[in-house]
Symmetry: C2
Subunit: 461 residues, 2 copies
């Protein structure tokens, strides 16, 4: 009878049941799943979401909200007994306000569609990540997505001006703010951004747009030491100002494997260096912007901040340089089976972090291989570890515990971009204090007293 | 006995009573006050703040937290029966991490001290406002301060990485995050930033630092129409990219009064134009940066986006151009007695907003004078209205109601920068929906169940 009520709200085509529920509603992109939903709800409007949640709230029915299912922390896969609430039919781009530079979209809109619509109107929406063709704006908001352009434009949090959210009890909270500065009371949107669907279901958002950059220049550099990489970053920030749009570091362990992953890829630099850095600028004046980066590079070479460097402003070569960085998933695949991590470490502690991690891993898994790249401009490291042959002595800690313990000791974050979901919930203590976790629990309890919204994800249910 | 316990925690010198409590603890900068505190508590540590709040929480004793007392919305002035908790003895700059580009300070540190300490170490802390010599970091956080450089660096919210907060019950919640990207659970700092001391007392903060800009170039322009001002803004954003650091618009009503306020000030442009715009860029390369703005200006003149313009990169002239904008308080003073407002309006509705406002004011107060300037790059307008002689017919609405009703109708914010405090609480409905206000109330209730933290400010107590 309860399910009948949900079906009635949704109408024909508004739900899936039984064999009609394909694996894409139960598994993440790695194919991992923990259960099978009995019903997939596919509402069309916030009003429908409201009616559904009101019923679920009353009945204590647990619900897992879903976007494009490209998350990496198991935040969107349902357990047995949970129903799926998919925003896949709420994909409208409702309005683009070109004078104000904002766009209002439904949460199920695909990121790439939003990007393209912005470009058709003379703007960019700058959030960009590999999953752009399937991830949704609602999912980007729920996980506070990052990606390639955070250094210049910020994360999803900085790109979102307003939200419409359906709360656990079905209340539709409309806060479609369109102005950059709004100090009229608590800024509630930040509660929902990055909370992975545990505090409310985002149904609409107002997004910030930016002018289309006219220039894109890239330098590919090699460095002899981590100290000079950090010096180079500070120099680049000072010299290039806000036009610095990427500062990506590849450790030699990564760079050496690029050709294993893509034998035909021509490397921008040959030689034998411990660090490689991709520096990108973007701006509004092709000639001056390229002179700025070229000039900076000359100084960096002279002052030995870089050991070698190549510069380009040709679109083809820019893409070729970026490819070395962008095929990181393929490079990781050469390490199968591997453990992947997405941590943030203060720059002042990063070298010590890497040394401690290498030491700990080598101690417990003598045969291990560790590969690292990072959005270093943001302090964000992506690690890939293949443990090699099982060690003679079983280690006292799992590799997850090793990585997160050392992350915590370096005042880092166990999740820079990917969120917590089910995967990292039990490690939250390494990045958040007891008082912080307790307040998270209090907020969860007061905003979702029946525990129906993505229960057990992020915070313990 | 209760007060004795507070005194014991604070020790000698840690509190003020009776006649020792000067007016600076009870009045705001306009001299306005609503009561007299019986005790001013001046703790030295978060541990002391914790002990004090634990007692007050137990006893239901209401507390008003105070920073530099430069707020404009009456958020820091005590009512009778409330005790003051001043952070004025917690002024330590605890650490500057030059590799990571962050600084950890106590909440009572003066903004200008923080700025200077950053500069001594080769950085800037970019938040800047007129009250820099007396306002505190804690106050900047509590009110999410804005100011002159928001377009380039964001508001206090974007400049704060981590917080230590003492909650209403005395719990010390330490969340001194130092990384830019941290998706490990809910981002709790945003609850406290901009909540004006109603949800917790900020005791420490980790701040983001930036390189010292090497160039500062300014163009002072005149425009014939609001349409061309908006076009100029879009053009400046596209052409100057992220180096655009200010886009300040002065309406003719303002510009014409500058010399009334400062007879000796030489105006950058003569002539008779409806709008004047100050455009500033800052970056890392003096020569290229000045060529960029000069080049942009040539195009703007050619394309008639501006009717007239002057350019400068000399420090003296940059300061002289800025002075025209910076003496806005003096210009306002020529309108005494005046009503001041700080609103945000989406750019697409700003012209309609101004027209509606001018119409409504002229209708009710035929003798009124309205003066406007704005951080237009942020959508933020500052309005000054002198109502003139009382009208024959008493208007049906107060001037506050007129301004805020029209702001609400244009999807604007009744407080862009200055916060809500006591002053604007009853107008919150014009910028926030009922569901939003209700959630604010719920958060206040759960985080401060005894209602001891700045009660009645922002949300109803």
């Amino acid at each position: 009878v309860f399910t009948d009520q949900l079906r009635t709200i949704l109408g024909p085509g508004g739900y899936l049941e039984g064999d009609d529920i394909s694996a894409r509603y139960s598994a993440d992109i790695t194919g991992y799943s923990v259960g099978q939903p009995a019903l997939v709800m596919r509402p069309r409007t916030a009003a429908e979401v409201s009616q559904l949640l009101k019923l679920c709230h009353g009945a204590g029915q647990q619900v897992v909200p879903q976007g494009g299912m490209t998350g990496l922390s198991r935040g969107g896969i349902p357990k047995d007994g949970e129903l799926v609430l998919s925003l896949e039919r709420m994909t409208d781009i409702e309005e683009i306000d070109t004078r104000n530079g904002t766009m209002t979209v439904q949460a199920g809109a695909i990121l790439q569609t939003v990007q393209e619509h912005a470009e058709d109107n003379g703007f960019i929406f700058p959030l960009d990540l590999g999953a752009r063709g399937s991830c949704t704006i609602g999912g980007n908001i729920a996980t506070n997505a990052g990606g390639n352009r955070v250094l210049r434009y910020g994360m999803m949090r900085e790109l979102t001006l307003g939200l419409e959210v359906v709360l656990a009890d079905g209340t539709v909270m409309t806060g479609l703010n369109r102005v950059v500065k709004n100090n009229a009371g608590y800024d509630l949107k930040h509660l929902f951004i990055g909370s992975e669907g545990t505090l409310g279901i985002v149904t609409r958002a107002v997004l910030k747009l930016f002018p289309i950059p006219k220039s894109q220049c890239v330098a590919f550099c090699a460095s002899d030491s981590f100290d000079s990489v950090i010096e180079l970053l500070h120099f680049a920030k000072a010299k290039l100002g806000a036009s610095l749009s990427a500062f990506e570091v590849m450790w030699q362990s990564y760079y050496d494997r690029v050709q294993a992953a893509r034998p035909n890829l021509k490397l921008p630099l040959t030689g034998d260096y411990p660090y490689y850095v991709l520096i990108e600028t973007s701006g509004g004046d092709e000639e001056l912007d390229s002179r700025l980066l070229e000039g900076a590079l000359e100084i960096a070479l002279e002052d030995q901040l870089v050991a070698d460097a190549v510069f380009t402003k040709s679109k083809a070569q820019v893409d070729a340089f970026w490819e070395v960085r962008d095929i990181s998933m393929e490079v990781a695949a050469t390490l199968q089976p591997y453990h992947g991590y997405d941590v943030s470490i203060p720059l002042s502690g990063m070298q010590s972090f890497v040394a401690a991690l290498e030491g700990a891993v080598a101690g417990d898994w003598p045969d291990a291989t560790l590969v690292m790249i990072g959005h270093l401009g943001d302090g964000n490291l992506h690690l890939c570890i293949n443990l090699g042959a099982p060690p003679a002595q079983p280690p006292s800690q799992t590799i997850d515990e090793v990585v997160y313990t050392i992350t915590g000791r370096h005042i880092g974050s166990i999740s820079a971009e990917h969120g917590i979901g089910l995967l990292k919930r039990d490690y939250l203590r390494f990045s958040r204090t007891e008082a912080e976790r307790s307040l998270m629990g209090t907020l969860k309890e007061v905003m979702d007293p029946q525990g129906i919204l993505n229960p057990g994800r992020v915070v313990r249910g």
